[in-house]
């Protein structure tokens, strides 16, 4: 029976090419815009997540219990053997590294600035984060170079230091003493992320351990997963292996509330886009279908007289609406997907807003990402809108009294 519904629907739509064409065009433009917006959103979110994770955070971090909350150096991990052994053969772990993270003060030639000191393993760090790729002057830390330091370029400006200059870093040791050490600037890094460029000082982990009297201790084990979807698996695995009275295992979005909020916002934004899709489809289609229904009152009366049941007439109008939305949807998807793929390849340059973007770990060039999920969401929303839009005209058509309907002119 559905074949006749769709055949009738399509032919009735083609009976009024101008009206159908304008509706399809309106729907197409609306769905194209929303497909592109959705792809932008997915691209932004993906870009932000990747930047957030790969700039320095990693997908998963292991700390001593309570460290993320306290950020006190006293809460360091004296021994990471258990963590390292667990990670050794764990699936989905691409790489991991150790770090020491401590807040401190940098002094140079009479200028002072607060810093976030990060003691790193230079070679392992390359496999976990993108920090080494941000070196814009000088070079990455070399193995064995105990006094080398890399500074964020804005921090270096504030301290008025350049390559080869000396910098004194001061921080509290676990015993509560203020310890200081002299380093020489080997390189400057620029990531576009404020937290990194304004605050970060990278030093060799072995030097940080000596300077802060930590022995072999570290504050972070930073893990890079092979995909975002593997994060939960890794966390569950670690929680099963480690003694959770001594350790905390945190996902990337748990480490920084901003990242979590942005992820949640992106979800909300997605729902807003879907809601707009439904409203666009409703507004475009309802009017057309009502006009079509009132044009064909006699025809619906005739069909009822011939023995078409109410449910069949209802389904007929719903099918016609779905055909109309499918035509607009295909046009919209082609346009929206075309724009998304084009800008996904060449990027959309929003460099003039780079400062604002740097707050959010976002690259100023946005690459819209056309995902199956994104397309499916819009398709489902469009069809839902179509079904909603068809309900009233379908209900009206199915409730017509055939004798009265056939008297209509």
């Amino acid at each position: 029976m559905f074949s006749i519904y769709f055949r009738l629907g399509l032919r009735n739509l083609l009976l009024y090419p101008m009206r159908t064409g304008l509706t399809v065009l309106g729907l197409g433009i609306g769905i194209a815009a929303l497909t592109f917006l959705s792809a932008m959103n997915d691209g932004w979110l993906q870009n932000m997540k990747l930047n957030f994770v790969l700039t320095q955070m990693g997908h998963v971090q292991v700390h001593s219990k309570g460290f993320e909350q306290s950020r006190r150096i006293t809460d360091y991990m004296a021994d990471t053997t258990q963590v390292d052994q667990a990670l050794q053969s764990m699936p989905h772990v691409k790489a991991w590294t150790h770090r020491i993270r401590v807040s401190g003060l940098a002094s140079a030639a009479g200028a002072n600035a607060s810093v976030l000191v990060s003691g790193i393993e230079p070679e392992k760090e390359k496999k976990v984060s993108r920090l080494y790729s941000f070196v814009q002057a000088g070079e990455w830390l070399q193995v064995g170079d105990k006094r080398g330091v890399l500074l964020g370029d804005v921090l270096a400006d504030r301290l008025s230091v350049g390559l080869g200059d000396k910098v004194v870093l001061m921080a509290a040791s676990p015993e509560g003493d203020i310890a200081s050490e002299v380093f020489r600037v080997r390189g400057l890094i620029h990531s576009g992320v404020m937290d990194v460029d304004n605050l970060l000082a990278l030093v060799p982990i072995s030097m940080a351990q000596d300077w802060l009297h930590l022995g072999d201790g570290v504050t972070d084990v930073v893990i890079r997963a092979d995909t975002f979807t593997a994060v939960d698996t890794i966390v569950k695995h670690l929680e099963g292996v480690l003694n959770m009275h001594d350790f905390e295992v945190l996902r990337w979005q748990e480490i920084d509330p901003m990242a979590e909020q942005w992820t949640m916002f992106a979800e909300v934004y997605t729902w807003i886009v879907l809601l707009v899709v439904i409203v666009v489809v409703l507004a475009e289609v309802l009017n057309t279908m009502l006009m079509s229904m009132y044009d064909r009152v006699r025809e619906f009366g005739l069909m009822t007289a011939l023995g078409t049941r109410q449910g069949q007439l209802f389904a007929m109008v719903v099918c016609e609406t779905l055909v109309l939305v499918a035509m607009g949807g295909i046009l919209g998807f082609l346009l929206g997907a075309g724009f998304s793929l084009y800008f996904g390849h060449y990027g959309l340059d929003l460099s003039q807003y780079a400062t604002a973007f740097s707050f959010m770990y976002m690259s100023p060039i946005v690459y819209p990402e056309l995902t199956f999920n994104g397309c499916a969401r819009i398709l489902i929303a469009a069809m839902l809108g179509a079904i909603l839009a068809s309900f009233y005209p379908a209900w009206k058509a199915s409730r017509l009294n055939p004798a009265t309907a056939m008297r209509e002119v």
Partner: protein, 230 residues
């Protein structure tokens, strides 16, 4: 109801409201129809012919009275059961706007068969056979706007008969046709009545229709005033 009786209506009433008063479109009508009849309901415009036809065709509800078709109390049927009864037992030919405009002649005839759930090949064969029967060979793929008024009415007759209904109701089938096409259509229906033993009830004040009738029933002011057997 006797064996050879197809339809029995008793005390049918239908009122339309106009201002503060009710106008009786049907006023306690008693009406019977035998199987194989070819009856014309005649009378002036507004006499109640179409209203009676709509009641018998289950297209509208009477305000009072009873109606039995083929032994079934059809007024007791629910909406969907009525639709099914129309589909299975009644064929319709209306005055105008008789066909679904986006379907071809063949598809229009096959539509009712499809509603009955008949397989495609079978229903298209039957549609072609009935179109041939009403003299529309070679016009099967034409849409209504590509057919003349007379040809459209013939398609409607083919559609009404394709389901082999117990009763065919025709409301002013010749009203939009010239006299030649009107006469031809009435001859066709009379011929089918004789050959296929189907029962026809036709509402018409066209002399051509009355001339073809085996029985004429005259209506006036919502009442049956006389019955003539020709």
């Amino acid at each position: 109801m006797s064996e050879d009786m197809l339809l029995q209506a008793t005390g049918l009433c239908k009122y339309y409201h106009s201002g503060d008063s009710d106008i009786a479109a049907l006023d306690h009508v008693d009406f019977q129809l035998k199987k194989g009849a070819f009856t014309v309901l005649s009378g002036r415009s507004g006499s109640g012919k179409t209203t009676l036809l709509n009641m018998i065709g289950l297209l509208d509800n009477p305000d009072a009275g009873s109606l039995h078709i083929a032994g079934e109390d059809v007024l007791a049927l629910a909406t969907s059961a009525r639709a099914n009864f129309r589909l299975q037992r009644i064929g319709f030919v209306f005055q105008a706007y008789n066909l679904i405009r986006v379907l071809s002649a063949r598809e229009n005839v096959a539509y009712v068969l499809q509603l009955r759930g008949m397989p495609k090949k079978e229903r298209l064969n039957i549609a072609d056979r009935w179109l041939s029967e009403v003299g529309l060979d070679g016009l099967e793929n034409r849409r209504p706007d590509q057919l003349s008024g007379g040809q459209q009415q013939r398609v409607a007759v083919a559609r009404a008969l394709a389901c082999e209904p117990a009763l065919v109701l025709a409301d002013e089938p010749t009203a939009n046709l010239d006299s030649q096409h009107g006469e031809s259509l009435m001859h066709l229906m009379r011929d089918l009545n004789e050959r296929c033993k189907m029962t026809f009830l036709i509402a018409s004040h066209d002399p051509v229709a009355m001339a073809a009738a085996l029985q004429c029933v005259y209506m006036q002011d919502g009442q049956i005033v006389s019955r003539d057997t020709v």
